[in-house]
């Protein structure tokens, strides 16, 4: 990574100036905070709008979500200012926190949604989740039965819970993070290990090849 590390000063005035102003005191800091907040709100609104086709939210709710994300991103940025090492433009580093906060707020929104079912095991949804054609059930029935057996026999209780929530019930990963009181990395790792186990079980029983291809 060393060759990519660029000192903030080399990035031009703005990327060097932001951390100085935000770490300072008095009116200069207040002005920088106000300017950064305005920028973050604009970025958050753009990001929420970009994701809106996949969200069950209306105009005012989207705006609220954007403002909350921008406010929390500002808190994160000011508290982590010492971690900015000039490896990118300051604004790119700052926008990253907007993305994280928008994701967290969207996850929380789904968590509150009454339609979200975390633990119900609706196995009949499995074919649809992966796009299997009902008209060709004879071709995939055994495969999915083997997958279900592998879920029952190979996964730990936690891996099974994460698999059921994310795959069967289509619960967003960031929503599961809130439900289980953990973080994105931990859920991803749990699902990663579950995926590896399930694939190995299907390969061992001849349903997929070692190279990942379908064995017919």
């Amino acid at each position: 990574m060393r060759e990519h590390v660029t000192a903030a000063a080399e990035l031009g005035g703005e990327s060097a100036e932001w951390p100085r102003a935000l770490a300072g005191t008095g009116p200069r800091r207040e002005e920088a905070l106000a300017r950064l907040h305005e920028l973050l709100v604009r970025i958050a609104r753009g990001e929420v709008a970009r994701r809106s086709p996949r969200l069950q939210l209306t105009g005012p709710e989207l705006d609220d979500l954007a403002y909350q994300a921008a406010a929390d991103a500002l808190v994160a940025i000011t508290s982590k200012l010492g971690q900015f090492r000039g490896e990118s433009r300051f604004t790119t580093w700052a926008y990253k926190f907007v993305m994280f906060e928008v994701s967290a707020k969207v996850g929380r929104h789904f968590w509150r949604h009454p339609g979200v079912r975390l633990d119900a095991e609706e196995w009949e949804r499995l074919p649809d989740r992966f796009g299997f054609d009902p008209a060709q059930e004879a071709e995939w029935r055994d495969l999915l039965a083997a997958l279900r057996r592998a879920v029952d026999e190979e996964l730990t209780a936690r891996q099974r819970r994460v698999f059921v929530a994310i795959v069967l019930n289509a619960v967003p990963l960031d929503t599961l993070v809130i439900e289980l009181g953990t973080n994105r990395n931990a859920i991803y790792k749990t699902l990663f290990d579950a995926r590896r186990k399930l694939r190995a079980a299907l390969a061992a029983n001849g349903y997929v090849g070692d190279d990942g291809g379908r064995r017919s």
Partner: protein, 73 residues
């Protein structure tokens, strides 16, 4: 994409995958390299593998790229 390939893609794991924590830590660096067309997947194969496989991190990456393009620095 049919069900077989979707299931295969879901179950396939890449041992180089660095996970969410590391990918999020370097997302701003990765995004800037990607935005200028640098060979970022070759430079950071573990992060690239993760961003391909992890929906939420991939979404954050796409959002960051869009934000960078929308706002002249």
């Amino acid at each position: 994409m049919n069900g077989w390939s979707a299931l295969d893609r879901f179950l396939r794991t890449d041992p180089r995958d660095v996970g969410c924590a590391q990918a999020m830590e370097m997302l701003h660096i990765y995004a800037e390299m990607a935005a200028v067309g640098a060979p970022v997947e070759e430079r950071y194969p573990g992060a690239a593998a993760h961003l391909r496989a992890c929906g939420p991190c991939g979404e954050d990456f796409e959002g960051l790229l869009t934000a960078m393009r929308g706002k002249a620095h």
